[in-house]
Amino acid sequence: MSALGGGGGGEGMDPVGLGIGLVVALLSVVIVYILAPTTAVFALIGVIIGGALIGFGIHFVPVGGAPAAMGQSPGIATGVAMLATGAGLAGLFGGAWAAELGFGVALAGGAIGGGLMMAITCLMVNVVYVYGMGIPAASGKVDKDPITGDTFPAYKSQGTEGHGLPFISYVGGVIGGMFGGLGGTLIYLELLEVYKETLPQILSAGAEDVIPIAVGLAGIFAVGMFLVNAVLSAYNITGTIEGPHDPKFRRFPRAVIACAIASAVCGMVAIMLVAM
């Protein structure tokens, strides 16, 4: 009965659950294939890849939760869902803004937006930790930073799981933000294409006129799917994670599969909106 760092999340997956999940995901693709135009199938596959990228990326983000706010565990002092939402939505806005400059530019914009948001957050978090709370960065999970080679045990306070934000966590945060932004933007762009193509017929209006509706719908669907994926990944992490060097990072295949299945179903519903 604990809010952080407790319960759930053993290793492995339930084969029956996995089977049901994969059948449901496949069923979603088949339904879209039957009811919607062929391009929508590729859009749905894009949405699934976007969801999987979000689920993968979130495992890089150093999440400290409430203990981090008291300097008792490393990472950024908030929950996975909030942090992932911040990074992902910053990326999504960056990518959406660049949507008219082409697919590749928009994806890059999304990734850079998410990465930039995490870079600024991690930097300011460390400024607060070092100059505000007076604590050095020390990981509790590894003795040596895999990138810089800095040693931690001498700096780690007794009774804590480490504190501050080591360099490896910073790098993890930026990579996580980039994956999150990339995935969110991919979902947005794929849905936008589908809506731009189908809405003129449904609303019997010109292709230019329907753009506000297409953008509004794709945006709100992308936000909704991002939150679903972020929270599923958060449930997979259960509490705190330090970054790519944390043993919990090895749980990511479960989240990638879970997010892909959830995105397939959500994407199917989003495409059915214009296929009916």
Partner: protein, 290 residues
């Protein structure tokens, strides 16, 4: 380092909340649809009441789910509810091609299917192993969808897709202002839904998050849920001045302000009842002041 989440036990059973919340919310949505039958838009306010019913029920669901310890804090459940709810709700608005009257029930059914699938994914594939996971996430998706449907009906006077995308904008043509149909000035094209999304999500995730602890009591948490619901209705009523007649919007605004003031005072009373001690704070007097 763990943080205990403790919730009170006993009190009104959860199924009562489920029944009253679900039926009350759907009935209020149909009352909001009276706008179409009567040709007026004064019934929009029932959309907000539908959202309050759903939020009141959702708060108890969150309490049920989060007392198992999710590992990620309480607000994540609210975000999941609205993330899946908004997807179900938007598809439901398109059910007008069958009949607009199907929309509220359709939203419940679509959200239930979507929520159940996400619940199975969370329970079996992510290995949460929480007994109430599938049921709770199903309920949460329905709560999200009904709340958004209600707030949308309150803000724009309708929950039908073809009316959500229809708006009019004043455009200056040669010095005279003329009204032209414009998708950008509609509830969906103007992305009012994004605002409603956050207003609803905050109202859903706050009450239990604020009240949890060894001293949690059911009536206080639920009163805070009502208070948050009415508080979210106030900005929605302000938004509704754009889309519906001023008189109808004013009624919505008054109902939400009165509802909020009453529930807020009740919540303060319950907080004083549950507190060990209460000291009424007074401003420090300035030297030479009154």
């Amino acid at each position: 380092m763990t943080v205990e989440i403790s919730a009170s036990e006993g009190g009104i059973p959860h199924n009562n909340f489920l029944g009253i919340g679900l039926v009350g919310s759907v009935v209020c949505l149909y009352l909001a649809y009276l706008n179409v039958f009567t040709g007026m838009d004064v019934f929009s306010v029932f959309g907000g009441i539908a959202a309050v019913f759903a939020l009141w029920w959702g708060t108890d669901t969150i309490k049920n789910l989060c007392s198992y310890g999710l590992g990620t804090g309480v607000p994540s459940a609210g975000m999941l509810a609205f993330g899946s709810g908004v997807i179900a709700m938007l598809l439901a608005t398109r059910l007008e091609i069958i009949s607009p009257l199907v929309i509220p029930v359709g939203a419940v059914v679509i959200a239930a299917i979507l929520g159940a699938i996400i619940g199975i994914v969370a329970d079996k594939i992510v290995n949460m192993h929480i007994p109430v996971m599938v049921k709770a996430l199903t309920e949460m998706a329905i709560v999200g969808a009904l709340t958004l449907l209600g707030l949308t009906a309150m803000a724009s006077g309708s929950f039908v897709f073809s009316e959500l995308v229809a708006g009019t904008a004043l455009i200056n043509v040669g010095g005279t202002m003329i009204e032209l149909p414009s998708f950008a000035a509609s509830a969906l094209g103007g992305c009012v839904l994004a605002t409603l999304f956050m207003l609803g999500a905050i109202a859903l995730q706050h009450p239990f998050n604020a009240c949890l602890g060894p001293n949690e009591s059911q009536d206080r948490t639920q009163m805070l849920a009502l208070e948050c619901g009415f508080l979210s209705m106030i900005p929605v009523a302000v938004i509704s001045f754009v889309f519906i007649s001023s008189g109808a919007a004013l009624i919505g605004f008054l109902v939400s302000v009165i509802g909020w003031a009453y529930t807020y005072m009740e919540f303060i009373k319950l907080s004083k009842r549950d507190a060990y001690m209460w000291l009424d704070g007074k401003p420090i007097l300035e030297k030479g002041g009154e």
